[in-house]
Assembly symmetry: C2
Homo-oligomer: 452 residues x 2
């Protein structure tokens, strides 16, 4: 048996992030203000430090990773890549399956890759307090961790359904010193408005974002941190794909297909964008974003200008969206319950450079259990979406006899998601129908994106 | 900043386990049967495969690790060693602190090191079903994982207090395909007897062992697997210390003190025994076993012959014990709630080659929170015992100005222990007084160990 893990040295942690904005065949349309006109970077200064705003609009291809950020990355990076030999055997596929495991970070997912960078820049520019939202708790944990590393106070608005499903994610954030509240709260106008409409709302990422943004905008000492969607967030996650490319070089392989689960888009974009450089230089590689078919942003949403949050506090972003009022069912992949998607991922899907596919909840858990029993690692429900499609690709190879090289990012472990596995085994989980007819009208009202 | 992680290649996974029985200055006294006479290996055949029985009594210094076991080890081994630079800074100590992190295994602790070996030998000798007990759930998870890897059916008797405190450990075992029951159950004679005495008993490791042994002994197709205490179990864990010694060689360092938490003794023995070779060759190194002061086996128990379980189904083992009837308080370090200890660890403590220290519960959580906020990783409550003593050693260095090299094994992560952290933050955790007077009489009745 050859090596199971493909490892890099600490010296091989990337020294620069890859900014896909430099290589877009058509430029990314700008965000718009409430008046419908493009907004400049200055509109973001109440929420973000200048360094992150500059990254948000930059078209430089390579952006240096500050040494203090790389020093924290050393705690878990470079993350390992694994050959999934036992999964291959279980499937009886001629395909080779590789996965990069981001669950080795202390918070258990890819999210600290950007949390650490965001905390660093905020601290460097004198910010002392951060607010944020979290869905499944992966992001909140990560910013809590990063806050502890850089001495920042952190407040997390956690989507209520996840707060209830994952009490120990809250404990984890508190252990790292953060304050955590179930969103909607009665501490913000956005929260109070949502509770007035429906006191039993399960909450949503869009709503939690509204609360965190409102909190940050109302205090001088506070900035806001977003765990996905925005360009600078996806930028920081490109360490995943950059390392993966080096890992493939070490073993003289190259993937035929690159797969990532996609909610706000940072895990998928961070994994896939660096491979666009290979695609541009003529290599054949498919890039596949996987989303839940109950929240099918890329596969059934509209490419349009929409707000990132429910209360319409954020600028209008050019993205695939199901409408900022869309509240997805309480599926267990909380990190994928977002009405919109990264503008960069959306743009590249729209341009045809990236594929998107939706998968039903039960099939993702089935894939996750098979993965756990063969590869050992217990995946997060979000990551199971990528596992599902990797398995489907491998099974297709079994039909055709092709020995494709399949690569996916296993974005996090499921240690805080065992209640979901319990419900899956008990037969209590459902597949949800997406209410297509119900929301088509509101989608049609969104302002379309013009590519000039 | 130098490297934070000290890594080895997969080719550097040890090819042999180190058997400290070969190097004891005084031989280990034999286990005794119910008649008080030494028992031979054949007495163990209803419970264990021959290969493990041979390891149990072997005095060969090096025992080859089968390739199929090394192949599974590759999933997470060699485990990383970290320099705890941020903890050092937080403490303001001149000491250097290193820790080896065993939480990288899929089950989240060191336990799979032996679980995989035990499952392998059982499967190889035709066994199809394993029973075991688990305290904190670390061991049960590990044997569930190993069972999945080698196609064995696994039944786990889980100490009731842990079953209640850690429901998601159960889910994890079930995800890997194991059956899990809260012990005492009404499915065994030992369980029924315990429930008759006290229907509300929190259970204990000793009692759960009784149930698992009774189950295994009553079925032809079933063997029993023990997660600690026995010689072959500690043997398998020596991969920890063997790798650590190689990692120290890579950085030209050597520890002044080696620390491990100690319940049944496999984590501590696995960490410390290989360093006895250095001690024997004249190097100065202290080996410190850390236990909870509410279950102070090594520090307040008697070195005597005692049963490993409550129902007296096991042979009499020569070990430090608090008496097989001792049921420790429901502290959150469930893996350290054992009345006895590894005969090998006990013997070496008795011979003065190993030190032992007891620490109170609250101080261990305080240490764990400081560790989490500086090093990122959230330790298991068991591991916090080692963290506590490492910090105490580092603070002593701060007083004396000595730049000692402190090494400990962080035996597992605390992802399934967040309820304990919750209780710690809420002020609901207690330090327990050990009932010294109450049990001294029963200790005095134990048969002393003669070293011949």
């Amino acid at each position: 048996m050859g090596d199971v893990k493909i490892l890099l040295d600490e010296s091989e942690i990337p020294k620069q992030w890859y900014n896909v904005a430099a290589d877009l065949p058509v430029p990314l349309p700008p965000p718009l203000g409430p008046d419908g006109n493009p907004i400049g970077p200055e509109a973001l200064t109440p929420l973000f430090p200048m360094a992150l705003i500059e990254q948000e609009v930059s078209t430089e291809r390579w952006i240096p990773i500050p040494e203090p950020v790389r020093d924290i990355y050393r705690m878990w990076r470079p993350s390992p890549m694994f050959r999934a030999r036992q999964l291959e055997q279980a499937l009886g596929t001629p395909a080779k399956i590789y996965y990069k495991y981001e669950g080795v970070s202390p918070a258990g997912s890819h999210k600290p890759n950007t949390a650490v960078a965001q905390a660093y820049y905020n601290q460097k520019e004198g910010c002392r307090r951060l607010t944020t939202e979290t869905g499944a708790g992966q992001w909140g944990s990560s910013i809590a961790l990063a806050g502890a590393m850089f001495g920042l106070t952190v407040r997390v608005y956690m989507v209520k359904v996840s707060y209830q499903q994952k009490p120990f994610r809250r404990s984890m954030m508190e252990t790292w010193g953060a304050e955590v509240f179930a969103s909607p709260t009665n501490m913000t106008q956005s929260g109070r408005a949502a509770l007035a409409l429906d006191p039993n709302t399960p909450g949503s990422l869009g709503l939690a974002i509204s609360e965190a943004v409102e909190d940050a905008a109302s205090r001088e000492d506070t900035h806001y941190a977003l765990g996905s969607v925005l360009n600078h967030v996806v930028l920081h996650q490109t360490v995943i794909g950059l390392e993966a490319r080096e890992q493939f070089k070490k073993i003289n392989e190259f993937p035929d297909v690159v797969i990532g689960c996609c909610g706000g888009g940072s895990n998928f974009g961070g994994t896939a964008f660096p491979f666009l450089m290979d695609k541009a230089s003529g290599k054949q590689v498919r890039l596949v974003a996987v989303e839940p078919d109950s929240c099918p942003t890329l596969t059934k949403g509209r490419y349009a200008y929409d707000h990132g949050d429910t209360a319409k506090l954020t600028p209008l972003l050019p993205m695939y969206s199901l409408g900022h009022d869309f509240i997805p069912p309480g599926i267990h992949a909380g990190g994928l319950r977002y009405h919109g998607d990264s503008p960069l991922v959306s743009h590249l899907v729209h341009l045809g450079l990236i594929e998107a596919v939706g998968v039903p909840q039960l099939a993702t858990f089935q894939a996750g259990v098979l993965f756990a029993r063969s590869e050992g690692i217990l995946p997060a429900p979000e990551a199971n979406h990528a596992v599902r499609v990797a398995i489907d690709e491998a099974l297709a190879c079994k039909q055709t006899g092709e020995a494709k090289t399949i690569f996916f990012t296993l974005s996090g472990h499921g240690h805080f998601d065992m209640a979901a596995y319990d419900r899956y085994f008990a037969g209590d989980l459902e597949d949800y129908a997406y209410p297509e007819e119900k929301i088509n009208a509101s989608l049609a009202a969104l302002r379309p994106v013009s590519l000039g």
